[in-house]
């Protein structure tokens, strides 16, 4: 990737520049795999790329980076994701 020679504020894409942001979470998405139909809406909608997709299209949450926004739970057509308060 090209690095610019500019005296201004530029941020380059990298993994976890802000650290493990999962610690910001108040509510934690918990997937009920018995009800999951593998539609992948949660995976597509997650703004943080914190829903991980396996080879068989089953999904899991990367709690290191999930901020607990609840978008996945809102989008799930089977109500298979519950938002549980963090301890």
């Amino acid at each position: 990737m090209e690095r610019y020679e500019a005296d201004t504020t530029l941020s380059y894409p990298c993994i976890a520049a802000a650290g493990k942001t999962g610690g910001w979470r108040d509510f934690k998405p918990v997937i009920d795999h018995a009800n999951c139909i593998k539609c992948l809406r949660c995976w597509a909608y997650c703004p943080e790329n914190a829903v991980k997709r396996a080879e068989d299209d089953s999904v899991s949450i990367d709690y290191d980076f999930c901020k607990g926004c609840g978008v996945c739970a809102h989008e799930c057509p089977k109500k298979a994701i519950a938002m549980e308060r963090e301890d």
């Binding site: 990737m1 610019y4 020679e5 500019a6 504020t9 380059y12 894409p13």
Partner: protein, 390 residues
């Protein structure tokens, strides 16, 4: 090279066309409108290949110009007075982004009372926004300065936006001749813009992200360094232009009959050109008066003023006012020459709000200083109609 005879604004537009801007965002405001109208005509007639954006306000003009410049293209816009004031927030954005935008501001009185006449407070009050500020006295100087400004703004060591200023009507709408360069000549002087950063999906960056307090002061420091470098580059680029095309309007300050002067007038734009006539007349009367026409207000030419101020009286003529302080060139000059041996700084507010400042007015102001009727600590209000003026 051909001679063009037209108003200052049309000659400005001609220079802009020759610099090949790729994006022009515009919102009309008297007295600059002629510039963006002429550029619109050129785009419509196929005489200029540029994206011409008509947006809904001056704030949006500067936002659009910043956005376009962030994509790595050469940009231009023009404004005046209330329009410039409305851009204020985005002026900071442009300079902190190190975007080499070139903008013409035609100096016009801020209202109310509503006015379209000349006063330099509009641009002078934006002097802390990180823009280089140049002031022109003739159509020819505007033409040459536009071309030099893109080169200055886009220089690796500068990367700051440039605001070119000149007086409403007395320059913007006055017919004057100007020698106009050919496209080949301008192309040979001003290479295509090479951005130092840009928004590009093939090399993604986020711009304007949160920056912690660890780094802000350092960013300001690099801007200050850019300004200091511009102090060297403005005269250098002007001399290079002179070598190529034979015209030179001065470096940071144009000196006129200054060598043996005991009194040196300081003025910008139209008052600066009018003062030359006053200097000639005062010389004919036997007074050793010269002129330092201030062409650059940011970066402020402190070193030049210290050199010029040695053993002399400086007389600053301000067509602007920082209310609660006074004339801006006067105060900045006093600050610059503090401790310079034998230097006194006198100041006048004159023509504030657009009243004419004739060579006779300037002679009158100089003569009061020469005759010992002025005190350096007390700024004169020239031709004030209420009590307290000179």
């Amino acid at each position: 090279m051909t001679t063009m005879f037209d108003v200052g604004n049309k000659i400005a537009a001609k220079a802009v066309q020759l610099c090949r801007p790729e994006v022009i965002a515009a919102y009309p405001i008297t007295p600059q409108t002629v510039i963006v109208e002429e550029l619109a005509r050129m785009v419509e007639a196929g005489e200029l290949t540029a994206e011409y954006l008509r947006v809904e306000s001056e704030h949006s003009v500067m936002a659009a110009t910043c956005s376009a410049a962030s994509m790595g293209v050469r940009t231009f816009t023009a404004t005046s007075s209330q329009g410039l004031a409305f851009m204020h927030e985005m002026l900071h954005w442009a300079s902190l982004s190190r975007l080499p935008i070139v903008m013409i501001n035609v100096n016009r009185t801020l209202g109310p009372g509503w006015s379209i006449w000349v006063d330099d407070t509009d641009s002078m009050s934006q002097r802390d926004t990180g823009w280089i500020q140049l002031y022109c006295s003739s159509a020819q100087e505007i033409f040459d300065t536009v071309i030099q400004s893109f080169k200055l703004a886009e220089h690796r060591d500068v990367q700051l936006p440039v605001m070119i200023n000149y007086s409403a009507f007395t320059i913007s709408h006055t017919m004057m001749p100007a020698e106009v360069l050919s496209q080949e000549q301008v192309d040979s002087f001003l290479p295509p813009f090479k951005p130092y950063w840009r928004l590009d999906w093939r090399n993604p960056v986020t711009f304007g992200n949160v920056l912690s307090d660890e780094y802000h002061m350092e960013k300001r420091y690099t801007m200050q360094q850019g300004m200091e470098r511009a102090k060297q580059l403005i005269p250098e680029i002007a001399r290079e232009y002179e070598q190529r095309f034979g015209r030179f309007h001065g470096g940071l300050i144009e000196e006129y009959r200054a060598d043996d002067a005991e009194y040196l007038l300081l003025a910008v734009s139209a008052v600066g050109s009018e003062a030359k006539v006053a200097v000639d007349n005062l010389r004919a009367m036997g007074y050793k008066v010269g002129l330092g026409r201030v062409r650059v207000v940011r970066p402020f030419p402190d070193e030049e003023l210290r050199r010029l101020g040695k053993g002399r009286s400086l007389i600053a003529l301000d067509r602007n006012i920082s209310v609660g302080s006074g004339g801006i060139v006067y105060h900045e000059t006093r600050s610059a020459v503090l401790g310079v041996a034998g230097c006194k700084v006198y100041g006048y507010l004159c023509g504030v709000g657009g009243r004419d400042v004739t060579y006779e007015d300037i002679e009158g102001m100089a003569l009061k200083v020469i005759k010992g009727e002025m005190h350096p600590d007390v700024v004169g209000w020239w031709d004030l109609k209420t009590a307290g003026g000179n």
